[in-house]
Amino acid sequence: MDIDWAALGQVFGVSLVATVGLVGLFTLGILGTASKADGTSAAALPRVGAYACFAVCALAVAYGIYLIAA
């Protein structure tokens, strides 16, 4: 019996890190762009940070498409 524990462990680790990382980044992005309770739009600095988060997520999606096609 030759169970490839290393590959399974790798899948486990990569999935966990990628999911938690991306969901975290995207959530921060949503928070940064959400308008404040008083209705005014978010401040400049959080907004820039939020766009950076979204950009990283977009890159991850592009990498995902690359993996599918390659």
Partner: protein
């Protein structure tokens, strides 16, 4: 093309039918949570998934060289009769699990079919037992755990980060993210699963001498496999979508996003690293994880348990049908004809049975009663395992309310007389499965009065 014998032709058609069932069986993986959180309208969701499946079929040029991934000894080639029997077993199991609304792996159904047909025709010696454990059992256990844990942690973190923020403000963003993740799952599905069909057809053509060994699939094979899976996806396996999107747990936008992202990440990681996991197992696990991750979220373990049992039965059941089919098909043309006619009849019967309690895009989101308490006893669970999909505890719902929708829904089933509502109600109440139907109709009628007339 002149080399294609009748048998090879039948194998090709059967492979495309399997591809089609694979499409509607797996729509839920990408789109169930997207539909239940309201990120996309049901029809829009399946249309998007269908297009991405079609694109997915064309984007990758690498086609599986073996159809069984080493489960069985393919060195001496596989008889077309065996491939045909395997496909029949897989199709019938896909239809049955669709009728029961159970998400189960189409790849496992195909593997089970191949195993059963091979054992029936060549004995146990042709099966690589180690590979079965390595490629089937371990992944089936690992997939829901990996995706579930990732989804659980992501959901928990997402809720912690958005603590104190109005849910309505973030919902739109989470829905957008979820659509993107679901799109990736659809694309990956088209690439992986349409290729399986292309592999089957190509091998059948090679074994019949219509193509040289190691030939790449001709364009018409790629196109027809892609179109079949996309058409199946667009049809939408609404029964399975309902189970996945509403039956396992109630999904809110942050959970849907976490679950779908976990599914996409796990599927891509597993196929890239080379430890392939079933998309269905991954997605089901991700949905369960997201249910556990939200405070107050409840996973309906009765539904989940029924699903696990379905997974366990997939290989033996598809294998049994395929084995019997193989024994018949090897008797010659008459045997093949008997199997083909039997398969068509079985599929038609399953479809007719499904019309007794139709689920489509109009009522897909009317899941089980949200206040449904978790059944406590072992007996209750055991009984629900063998019963049709769960319905709420609405048995006392006044039946006449539901009666008017029954004649519309029973288009192909037993004739229901709209002029005799009391009689129809009494009949419905006397029959266990019909009363389940009445309950689900009652919920659909009360929540969306106009919906039932559309179906």
């Amino acid at each position: 093309m002149e080399h294609i014998t009748l048998l090879i032709g039948i194998v090709i058609v059967t492979a495309l039918v399997f591809d089609f069932t694979n499409g509607f069986h797996d729509t839920a993986n990408a789109m169930a949570t997207t539909i239940s959180t309201g990120a996309l309208k049901p029809k829009t969701a399946v249309a998007m998934s269908a297009v991405l499946n079609l694109i997915g079929a064309f984007v990758s040029v690498e086609v599986a060289k073996t159809i069984s991934s080493g489960l069985i000894n393919e060195d001496s080639g596989i008889q077309p009769e065996v491939i045909f029997a395997a496909l029949v077993g897989a199709i019938i199991w896909n239809m049955l699990t669709w009728l029961a609304g159970l998400p189960s792996s189409s790849s496992h159904a195909l593997m089970g079919g191949l195993l059963g047909a091979t054992v029936a025709s060549a004995g146990f010696g042709a099966v690589n037992g180690d590979v079965v454990i390595m490629k089937v059992l371990i992944p089936a256990l690992a997939a829901p755990l990996v995706a579930g844990l990732a989804s659980l942690l992501a959901t928990r973190m997402s809720y912690r980060l958005t603590q104190g923020v109005d849910e309505k403000q973030t919902a739109k963003g989470f829905r957008a993210g979820q659509i993107t993740s679901a799109g990736l799952v659809s694309l990956a599905h088209g690439t992986n699963d349409a290729q399986k069909t292309m592999g089957v057809i190509t091998l059948a053509l090679i074994s019949g001498g219509a193509l040289g060994a190691d030939a790449d699939p001709p364009f018409w094979v790629i196109a027809s496999a892609g179109i079949a899976i996309a058409a199946g996806t667009y049809l939408g396996g609404w029964r399975i979508i309902r189970t996945m999107g509403k039956g396992i747990t109630d999904i809110k936008p942050p959970q849907g996003f976490a679950a779908q992202t976990s599914a996409a990440a796990t599927i891509l990681a597993s196929s890239h690293i080379g430890f392939s996991l079933s998309t269905t197992h991954v997605c089901s696990g991700a949905v369960m994880g997201s249910g556990l991750g939200r405070k107050g979220g409840v996973v309906r373990w009765s539904t989940a348990g029924r699903m696990f049992i379905g997974w366990g039965l997939t290989i033996p059941a598809a294998g049994l049908v395929a084995g019997l089919s193989a024994l018949l098909a090897e008797q010659g043309d008459l045997g093949v004809t008997v199997v083909a006619v039997g398969a068509v009849t079985a599929c038609a019967a399953i479809w007719v049975a499904s019309r007794r309690q139709p689920v489509d895009h109009t009522n897909v989101n009317d899941g089980p009663d949200h206040t449904d308490p978790e059944p406590a006893g072992v007996v209750t669970t055991a009984m629900q395992v063998v019963a049709p999909p769960p319905v709420g505890s609405r048995a006392e719902e006044p039946l006449p309310q539901s009666v008017e929708s029954i004649p519309h829904q029973n288009t192909a089933g037993a004739p229901a007389d709209a002029a005799a509502p009391a009689g129809a109600a009494a009949t419905a109440a006397s029959d266990a499965s019909s009363s389940a139907q009445a309950n689900s109709n009652a919920s659909s009628a009360s929540s969306a009065p106009s919906a039932s007339s559309l179906s």
